[in-house]
């Protein structure tokens, strides 16, 4: 190697190398400034994105408030139950995973696929509930296969439970899962998988109070959506408990009395209007709505001709029959069509507007004043009164006593009933009102339609001598107070006259005699309403197929300072006095004892 090569001139290349280095340095500085922009200036944005990546919110079901009877007994309770949800994101292979899940849960694959299809609109990280109402034993095999089936999520959550089953089903109502349509219909609302909604009864009426507030768990998940732990949680707030006015002993007796029949029993606290008992029969087990029906069970329940789901107390429309004679009496007294002393002679039949009308008691009651006519429920007396009054005053009296409109009880779906008059007739049928129709209305037949709760409310109004109460279920410290009416609906004397008749009906061997309770001074009125025309009924009876009438009893006790109102309706129960009277009597008896023991 020569010396000149050792000292060759490298300044040019070295200078070029330096230029390249400083270009690199400049690029590095620019890069660093971009890191500054991303890490410092846009930090919040990216931190938010990182949090959204790793945090998944999970709704925590709030336990519903309990529904209690007035004694504190649980009509609707909560119990721990396990539910299994499917996290669709984690399903790797449907044809392997679904049959395995079905085997574990003991369901068939179409059912599973249907449930999943139902929630296909939900975002895929939202789990779909595929089985619930499970016991710890049910979920044990799933827990032990957690690693094989990461798509299954087992959670414990409070579930509604009705300890009484069908005992107060129409009062309490039931809760049911939101359907896919309902979820779609309210896109603004965040719906938790398997969320329950009050459907009928108190569960629906006071859903907002009972519901409580769901909590949120903030779960940490990894990039595959696998649970890594819980970051924090907002605990759910339990819904408020609700106490009802229901009296457990009366309710139990009411349901027992109706067993095997179709009918209604309503008992009101005459002082407050609180519903002491409300039974509609046949009934159903609301627990079945929570654990989900099979399609067969559901169609059986909805197509049952006896419609067990209907609350007959507020939705059943019936002719009031002879109960309506109370309306006739009050309206007649007020309008001066009759006085307590007005006497009519009953020979068992009479001819009005060219047709023969019968009293229910063929031999005839003889001469009677108003109270005796109520006691005997004499048709002839009220035919005569009806002819004198005409339809308009009758309809006015019915409305004044609360018929033809909802009582406003705190239950959804109450019906109005119907009080016919000339205006209604011309509007509906474009036909004039015939005087003969007035005669049918006078004894509570014809187009008249009432609900049992209306009759109970009307009976309470009579018992309170014209001061109405609002029938209601909400009791305890939330119980609404009925404001004292400034003046009675009709003159006090009118009420006393009618009550005299009702008292005699029960206590002096009248039609309501079987409702009598020693020392409780019950007053009442019976009714037997024809479900088909009298002529047709007679023909069928002769042919050996007797058609029974609907059987009514509505009354209160005691006569002075009334405490309880009881209304009983038994469909096709026969005579009101014979069938419904004794039921009411038993309820009076129980309540009397309760009052004495207080």
């Amino acid at each position: 190697m020569s010396r000149e090569r050792i000292y060759e001139d490298l300044t040019l290349v070295q200078r070029r190398a330096n230029v390249v280095f400083w270009i690199f340095a400049g690029l590095l500085l620019l890069t660093l400034s971009y890191y500054w922009k991303v890490q410092i200036l846009e930090h919040k944005k990216y931190l938010g994105m990182a949090e959204a990546n790793r945090i998944r919110m999970r709704e925590l079901a709030a336990p519903r408030g309990l529904i209690l009877d007035r004694a504190g007994g649980k009509l609707a309770d909560n119990r721990a139950s396990f539910k299994v949800s499917l996290n669709r994101e984690n399903v790797k292979n449907e044809s392997v995973s679904y049959p395995a899940i079905c085997r574990l849960l003991g369901i068939d694959e179409p059912t599973l696929r249907n449930r999943i299809a139902l929630h296909k609109d939900l975002p895929s990280h939202e789990p779909v509930v595929i089985a619930d109402g499970l016991t710890p034993e049910d979920v044990a095999p799933i827990e032990s296969r957690r690693l094989e089936l990461p798509e299954l999520v087992v959670e414990s959550e409070p579930q509604r439970y009705y300890p009484g089953g069908g005992l107060a089903a129409h009062v309490v109502g039931y809760v049911q899962e939101l359907t896919a349509e309902e979820i779609r219909a309210r896109p603004d609302r965040k719906v938790r998988g398997g969320e329950m909604l009050g459907r009928t009864g108190v569960e629906r009426q006071y859903d907002d109070i009972l519901r409580g507030q769901d909590g949120i768990a903030y779960d940490v998940v990894d990039s595959l959506g696998r649970f890594q732990g819980e970051q924090s949680r907002q605990y759910p707030l339990k819904g408020r408990d609700i106490t009802l006015t229901i009296d457990p002993a009366l309710q139990a007796e009411a349901v027992k009395s109706l067993e095997g029949r179709e009918g209604v029993i309503v008992a009101l606290d005459a002082e407050t209007g609180g519903v002491l008992a409300l039974a509609s029969y046949p009934t159903f087990d609301p627990n079945r709505f929570i654990t989900r029906f099979t399609p067969a069970e559901w169609s059986q329940l909805t197509t049952d001709p006896l419609s067990p789901l209907e609350n007959r107390a507020i939705r059943g429309l019936y002719a009031p029959g002879s109960i309506f004679k109370l309306v006739m009496s009050l309206g007649g007294l007020d309008g001066g069509f009759v006085t307590p002393e007005t006497t009519v002679f009953c020979s068992g039949a009479t001819e009005i507007y060219g047709s023969v009308r019968h009293c229910w008691f063929a031999p005839g009651h003889g001469a009677m004043d108003l109270a005796a006519a109520i006691r005997n429920s004499c048709n002839i007396y009220f035919y005569s009164l009806g002819r004198r009054m005409g339809i308009e005053p009758i309809a006015a009296a019915a409305r004044r006593l609360g018929l033809g409109r909802r009582t406003g009880i705190d239950l959804v779906g109450e019906k109005e009933g119907l009080v016919p008059d000339t205006e209604w007739k011309s509007k509906t049928f474009h036909a004039p009102w015939f005087p003969g129709e007035t005669i049918s209305v006078a004894i509570g037949q014809g187009q008249l339609q009432v609900t049992p709760i209306q009759i109970a409310a009307m009976t309470a109004l009579i018992a309170r001598r014209g001061r109405p109460v609002q029938p209601h279920l909400l009791g305890g410290r939330d119980e609404p107070k009925t404001p004292d009416a400034p003046s009675p609906v009709y003159a006090l004397t009118s009420f006393e006259s009618v009550i005299e008749g009702m008292w005699r009906s029960v206590n002096e061997g009248g039609t309501g005699a079987q409702a009598r309770v020693e020392g409780f001074e019950a007053c009442g009125k019976t009714g037997s309403t024809q479900t088909i025309s009298r002529e047709a009924a007679e023909r069928l009876a002769l042919a050996g197929h007797p058609v029974k009438t609907h059987s009514w009893f509505s009354g209160f006790a005691p006569r002075v300072g009334p405490k309880i109102v009881v209304t009983v309706l038994v469909e096709f129960g026969g005579g009101g006095g014979a069938t419904s009277g004794p039921i009411a009597g038993r309820l009076f008896e129980i309540y009397k004892k309760e009052l004495e023991s207080r």
Binding site: Q14, A17, A25, Y35, Q39, Y46
Partner: protein, 366 residues
């Protein structure tokens, strides 16, 4: 020619540079640990072993005068071309490309070796070239020499290594001196090649990576995913970061290739801008010390070796930190010193070894 290291030469080793190299490598080990401690395989231990091996190889490189390597570069070149051809023909397909030879437990990547060989070949090619500017014939010859292995690498296809090749070629040309006319011509050729390559040679997934650069949200589940997650990791780190082993993007595995190509995202997330700044500063000092060693080279070959070897590391470093923050397409270039992986670590250490070698032997014929 072949000299074993003697005492005097031993004292001439740039120990500061060596310390910086080791320091940077250990920073890498820390974050490899952070991003893999929840996985089986003890990656950080393996990386430590690789550092040891690489260091041993580095000293081996130091022991032999770089002139010897330069003199033998023609043979190396032949060997590496044969290896690359063999690779295309025989090697089993790994991760969609044919860039890996499987040799028992050790895997060798011929394209990594090719980088070093190119440095040596260019040193030889330009060592005797003392004019101020490159002539056309010399340019074309150099392009031809580099073009053969480059083409073989493109065919694998290993876009990242191919780009690194282009950087070394470009750097060497700049050093040799390009006239303005030549620069324009080369740029036009590159443009033509780029357009032609885009329509003919680039695979769909590679095209997607380029389009994703412009609009990462256009494909958030596919190739855009990596960039988006990486940017989220870096941005969410803020000024001081989330803490060692506390980066949610890396620990919860939202970040792809955490311990390899995207290790710097982990640093950005867990140590924030502060950590990013420190690592970049460390890099800057290291590379500055290497670049500025060109003044210490005793001959032209030494200048070329120092310059291209340093450029190799600097280019990969810059492209990697641009890539993970979404300023450059995801081309599979690792971060020298920091990324997990023996092959790239070894290449980097050999390149450093060459720089140290030249620097150490700055006094001629001692």
């Amino acid at each position: 020619m072949m000299l074993m290291i003697d005492r005097r030469l031993f004292g001439e080793i740039d120990w500061v540079l060596l310390a910086l190299i080791l320091l940077q490598s250990l920073v890498g080990v820390f974050f490899i640990y952070s991003s893999t401690h929840f996985l089986p395989g003890a990656y950080y231990v393996r990386q430590l072993v690789w550092i040891g091996i690489s260091l041993a190889v580095l000293f081996l490189v130091l022991a032999i005068d770089y002139k010897f390597f330069v003199a033998l570069s023609g043979y190396f070149y032949g060997l590496v071309v044969i290896m690359l051809v063999a690779l295309l023909v025989f090697a089993r397909i790994v991760a969609g490309t044919k860039s890996w030879f499987t040799m028992g437990l050790m895997q060798a990547q011929p394209s990594e070796v090719a980088k070093i060989v190119l440095i040596l070949v260019f040193a030889r090619l330009f060592a005797e070239y003392k004019r101020g500017y490159l002539t056309t014939s010399h340019t074309l010859f150099a392009l031809g020499v580099a073009g053969v292995p480059l083409l073989l690498i493109v065919l694998q296809p290993d876009l990242g290594t191919a780009m690194t090749f282009l950087a070394i070629i470009g750097g060497a040309f700049l050093l040799a001196g390009l006239r303005k006319k030549a620069i324009v011509l080369l740029l036009l050729a590159a443009l033509a090649l780029g357009v032609g390559g885009w329509t003919v040679a680039l695979k769909d997934y590679q095209k997607k990576r380029v389009t994703t650069l412009i609009n990462p949200a256009g494909d958030p589940r596919g190739s855009g995913y990596q960039v988006i997650q990486s940017k989220i990791a870096i941005g969410s780190g803020g000024f001081t970061g989330k803490g060692f082993r506390k980066g949610t993007q890396s620990q919860l595995r939202f970040l792809p290739a955490r311990h390899t190509d995207f290790i710097f995202s982990v640093i950005g997330e867990e140590t924030g801008f502060l950590g990013v700044f420190i690592v970049i500063a460390l890099y800057f000092v290291l590379l500055a010390r290497m670049f500025l060693s060109v003044g210490k080279a005793r001959d032209r070959a030494g200048v070329y070796i120092i310059f291209t070897a340093t450029l190799l590391i600097a280019f990969q470093f810059l492209v990697n930190i641009l890539m993970i923050i979404g300023l450059f397409p995801v081309v599979g270039i690792t971060l020298p010193f920091l990324s997990y992986g023996g092959s790239s670590l070894l290449t980097t250490y050999v390149a450093c070894g060459l720089v140290l070698n030249v620097k150490m032997r700055r006094f001629a014929n001692v």
